[in-house]
């Protein structure tokens, strides 16, 4: 049984303004156009193998205003961002982008899988999303490759000044 089926919807958990909030954010503009045809879910490669991830359901829950349920849902993080749903939606809803908007909101509350915090922290430290070992950097020479361009952590930090997700990345680095 999917997590969304586990409990009934109570009127008290509905935030009728939630959909307007999402529709104001870049990528979420066309949320209200969705008429629940299900093209997104039937074409979604992740939905094929997951018992819980259903993009149509996420869109409907968002339209209904089930803010907490959507933002706390682990399935939100299963989207592979392949954009098949976005390209095939007959109503031009940018489904993958609506999901990204929802993820961004969840992340602002600190609800994001560890992997994003780790990659963010690595970007701040080195410019690269992964920690590239000294050995690998040195090996490039023997492979006949030019030196790897360096990141500029100071400049990265300066340009990212004011980005709210940084506080979770900083915690990671501590």
């Amino acid at each position: 049984m999917s997590e969304t089926e586990q409990k009934r919807i109570k009127a008290s958990e509905i935030d009728p303004k939630f959909k307007y909030e999402i529709a104001k954010m870049p990528g979420g503009e066309k949320l209200m156009r969705c008429f629940q045809c299900g093209t997104c879910t039937s074409d979604c490669p992740i939905a094929r193998f997951s018992d819980t991830y259903r993009p149509r359901q996420i869109i409907r829950m968002t339209q209904l205003g089930l803010r907490e349920r959507v933002l706390n849902s682990e399935t939100l993080w299963l989207c592979a961002s392949c954009f098949t749903c976005t390209d095939r939606c007959p109503q031009d809803v940018e489904v993958a982008s609506v999901i990204r908007v929802l993820r961004n909101l969840a992340a602002q509350k600190g609800c994001a899988p560890q992997v994003f915090k780790e990659q963010g922290s690595s970007i701040l430290e080195s410019g690269y999303a992964y920690k590239i070992s000294e050995l690998r950097i040195k090996k490039r020479e023997s492979l006949g490759l030019p030196p790897l361009p360096k990141g500029n952590p100071e400049s990265i930090r300066k340009t990212l000044h004011g980005v709210s997700f940084l506080k979770f990345i900083e915690k990671q680095g501590e």
Binding site: A80, C82, F83, G120, R136, T159
Partner: protein
């Protein structure tokens, strides 16, 4: 803007663990007369951060674009993720003045400014649009007519169409055309344009590997001798993880996964030991032997 001189943007995954793609790409680009200039400074394109902070993605991408503008060169990427992100942000900032001003207020902190004077292209796009298919065909000295392979595009070089737009996401032709230019046959198979699953690694590995397994099954079904990729992440999913998938689901594939520049490299007469085949996880020796023996 110069058509045969590019600033090469390696991204993060390639220097981290996909050296064979970079080695072979540099070799074939040199052979085809495309000059590469190294990035003066680097940071991630921003894509991995988009799920958690769209703003952070925009700034990271714009910073790279602004650095390239200072150099006065278009960007060439090997990774479709980087290409897709840089293309998308470039288009957004060129078209949306308010957004450009907002992002520029961040870039100003490092003495940079986005002006919108360059383009970002994936290697596939450079090969097809700037080098041209005729020049590639002319460079082939050893047609790979003995090989039957399949293609696998990366999602982010196809979708969303609105931002990428150089190929048809439902029926992509570019990689096929490039493969056929080497003389090899490119076989069609079921669900060709589907995602490899890589972005779900770290969130749900089992689902990610199931996606890759599905694809390998479809490729096995048509009897392809190899799979050809143009994305470091897709390559990791099929090559690095092939053995893991075989064990996990009790399957046997043994399908080698080649980076497109490795395939083209063989056809234009670059020696196999210069194309970093020993970096691949799945044994590729049968194919190399076939190519070497043919025409002897």
């Amino acid at each position: 803007m110069e058509k045969h001189r590019y600033l090469i943007f390696l991204g993060c995954a390639i220097p981290y663990r996909v050296a064979a793609y970079e080695i072979s790409a540099r070799k074939i680009l040199q052979k085809l007369g495309v000059e590469l200039v190294e990035m003066p400074e680097f940071n991630c394109c921003g894509l991995p951060m988009d799920p958690v902070s769209h703003e952070m993605m925009l700034i990271l991408a714009a910073k790279n674009l602004a650095l390239a503008e200072q150099k006065g060169l278009n960007i060439l990427t090997l990774c479709p993720g980087c290409a897709g992100t840089l293309k998308k942000v470039n288009k957004m900032l060129k078209e949306d003045k308010a957004l450009r001003e907002e992002i520029n207020s961040h870039l100003k902190e490092s003495g940079l400014e986005f002006k919108g004077t360059i383009e970002a292209k994936h290697i596939m796009q450079v090969l097809i649009e700037d080098v041209g298919i005729e020049k590639i065909k002319d460079a082939v000295v050893k047609p790979l007519t003995m090989l039957k392979v399949t293609e696998h595009n990366g999602c982010h070089i196809l979708r969303p169409k609105e931002f990428i737009g150089f190929d048809d996401p439902e029926n992509p032709k570019t990689l096929k055309t490039l493969i056929e230019a080497t003389g090899a046959t490119c076989l069609d198979y079921m669900d060709e344009t589907e995602c490899c699953g890589a972005p779900s690694v770290g969130v749900n590995d089992k689902i990610a590997l199931q996606l890759a397994r599905d694809k390998l099954n479809h490729i096995k079904m048509v009897g392809a001798q190899a799979m050809i990729t143009i994305c470091p992440f897709c390559h990791i999913m099929y090559d690095t993880n092939e053995l893991r998938i075989e064990k996990m689901f009790n399957e046997t594939y043994g399908i080698p996964v080649l980076h497109y520049p490795q395939l083209l490299g063989l056809a234009v007469g670059i020696k196999p030991d210069e194309l970093a085949f020993n970096d691949l996880r799945v044994d590729v020796s049968k194919i190399i032997k076939q190519v070497e023996e043919c025409g002897k």
